[in-house]
């Protein structure tokens, strides 16, 4: 009898899985490859030298980063609270935090305008302070923060949960106050998760279109510009801008995977 090298037979089930895998890979990769292949290098160069394009991409980066930073400043203490304390209604608070993920994108814009407009007390207050949301960078940053916040909070919370409370207890027993303990022990151990959260929320914010286009068509962030170019001039003229924007997203995506993979390896 011949020796069989592998006696675990790979049945039709296995091959079904492999073929569906190939279909899915192709479905995801083909459009992205085509996107990069379609515009010539010359077109990409011309495009980025276009003042409007450069300005919109810069505005996208700048507002997304601001949204991530705001999430960081307000989100960090709350994430720590949720990671360390149990209280009644914690589940509900966690649910509310994840709500923005579930809201359809244009509805986010509509909802924000609802409180920022002059029909709402809050909107009147803003108007008195001279703060304009509609059609302003402030407005863009507000909606981006709204959609980006849950991503930072969830990542930071997971990071804090991974730091053993015993380390903090030992630190306090050695004379460190709660503040010192946080900055000397908790933060150095959780910063990587917080960075993951920052990148995830930036990535989410930089790709947002539906919520922003409601609140601020102008000043134009990159996704809005891509949309305008497509509507006004067609596919060919929107592709180079799309390539530049997607490059930024992919950089964030790779950073993220490297960070999370390294974390898995370390554990």
């Amino acid at each position: 009898m011949m020796l069989t090298r592998r006696t675990i037979t790979r049945g039709p089930f296995f091959w079904l899985s492999v073929s569906s895998g190939i279909v899915i890979m192709a479905f995801i990769l083909l459009p992205l490859i085509q996107l990069f292949v379609a515009p010539s290098v010359e077109m990409l160069r011309v495009s980025i030298q276009d003042k409007d394009v450069a300005h919109s991409i810069w505005l996208s980066i700048y507002t997304a980063a601001l949204a991530a930073l705001i999430s960081f400043f307000f989100g960090t203490p709350l994430a720590y609270l949720l990671a360390r304390h149990d209280f009644k209604g914690k589940r509900i608070v966690e649910g509310i935090i994840d709500l923005p993920i579930a809201i359809p994108h244009p509805v986010v814009g509509i909802a924000i305008l609802g409180v920022a407009g002059k029909n709402h007390v809050f909107g009147q207050l803003l108007a008195e302070l001279g703060i304009r949301v509609m059609g302003s960078v402030t407005g863009i940053v507000t909606v981006l923060t709204f959609v980006a916040l849950p991503f930072y909070l969830d990542a930071a919370k997971a990071g804090f949960e991974a730091v053993s409370p015993r380390l903090e207890k030992v630190s306090r027993s050695l004379g460190a106050s709660m503040f010192s303990t946080f900055f000397r022990i908790t933060f150095p151990l959780a910063w990587r998760s917080m960075l993951v959260g920052l990148i995830m929320s930036s990535a989410r914010a930089i790709g947002e279109f539906g919520a922003v286009v409601i609140v601020a068509y102008h000043p134009m962030i990159a996704p809005v510009l891509i949309y305008e170019r497509f509507e006004a001039y067609g596919l060919k003229y929107s592709q180079p801008v799309a390539v530049w924007l997607v490059l930024i997203s992919l950089i964030l995506f790779f950073l993220l995977r490297i960070l999370t993979l390294r974390k898995t390896v370390e554990q």
Partner: protein, 345 residues
């Protein structure tokens, strides 16, 4: 030194009720008890790391109940070391000095002495991650003692260590205790640790302190049925006493003394019960026929459950004896024990 008065704690499922405990200056006090007895909770309450419902804790005469943990001057060492993974060994040890005003020369001296006593010199510039358990626990001890705490709390510091490192750290603990004026309070469930390190001990159970006293005393004369079971007297029966006899479930057992109370408990260590196939002619005054009801592998030994008429005795037998005597489940055997092996209380 440490004096705890009427301490009550409620934390989720755990309750400590009316804990009273006094530990003298520089004593090495042992806290024993099964998992879930509340030992760690008591340590954390003393350190200010767990909320207290009522009661007082005095350290050197001062009630510290209102102080935050960083103001108490109490060190804590955990079973899992709790070393700061992002700091080097030296930074770990010196961590506490960031928050203590210390004379530089004195601190230098103290560091040198701890490094010497705990044999840490070759590790100082490494990260804790890949060190052995024994090394980690020695570092954790150095870190806690670097700030010269009045009290050092040790939460099962040896139980996660491999056997070969256990002796090392135990010896280090002994040296540290002898050379410092710190009061040690250690949680353990290992009698070896208790016997070789401690003088006095308390046994906790279900949030209550069951017995306080010298360790040999607790081992030889357990004050309650729970403590008897905890120190390894597996054969524990409620019995009626009359003169130097105890009766229970139809069995009459001879005792080496005469109990003063009319009824109570008798307890026999499994290792004091001898198993044979025939009645032995020996000095053992108590002998009963029975049937093997269970055999349990305990590593070097087998634990044997022998069912006599209405009582089930637990005994210990070596692997060789098991094979030589041909003992299997449902085999007929005889259990015998000396009158002096029967403890009563």
């Amino acid at each position: 030194m440490i004096s705890i008065k009427g301490l009550n704690i409620e934390l989720r499922d755990f309750h400590l009720r009316d804990i009273n405990l006094d530990v003298a200056q520089n004593e090495f006090f042992i806290l024993m008890g099964p998992t879930g007895a509340g030992k760690t909770l008591l340590l954390e309450a003393i350190a200010g790391l767990a909320p207290v419902k009522s009661g007082k804790i005095f350290i050197g005469g001062n009630d510290i109940i209102g102080l935050p943990p960083e103001k108490r001057g109490i060190g804590i060492v955990y079973q899992d070391y709790a070393l700061f993974p992002h700091l080097s060994v030296k930074e770990n040890i010196l961590y506490g000095l960031n928050f203590h005003k210390a004379d530089k020369k004195e601190a230098q001296q103290r560091l040198a002495q701890l490094i010497e006593t705990l044999d840490l010199f070759h590790l100082l510039h490494r990260r804790p991650a890949n060190l052995s358990g024994g090394e980690k626990q020695r570092i954790s001890l150095a870190r806690a003692l670097m700030v010269d705490p009045a009290v050092l709390l040790l939460d099962e510091p040896l139980s996660a260590l491999d056997p070969q490192f256990k002796a090392d750290v135990r010896a280090a603990l002994k040296r540290l205790h002898e050379t410092s004026r710190t009061t040690f309070l250690m949680v353990t469930h290992d009698f070896t640790d208790a016997l070789s390190l401690g003088g006095r001990a308390a046994v906790m159970h279900n949030g209550l302190i069951e017995q306080v006293g010298a360790i040999e005393e607790i081992f030889k004369r357990p004050a309650s049925a729970f403590v008897a079971g905890f120190v390894g007297m597996k054969n524990l029966f409620p019995a009626e006493f009359s003169k130097n006899k105890a009766t229970f479930s139809g069995l009459e057992i001879e005792l080496a003394g005469a109990p003063t109370n009319g009824h109570g408990y008798i307890a026999i260590r499994p290792e004091d019960i001898v198993i044979s196939r025939q009645i032995l002619s020996s000095s053992m005054r108590n002998s009963f026929r029975g049937v093997v009801a269970g055999i349990l592998d305990q590593g070097f030994y087998y634990e044997l459950r022998v069912q006599t008429q209405e009582v089930s005795f637990t005994s210990i037998i070596t692997k060789s004896s098991l094979i030589e005597l041909g003992i299997q489940e449902s085999a007929d055997v005889v259990v015998s024990f000396k009158a002096s092996a029967v403890h009563f209380f």
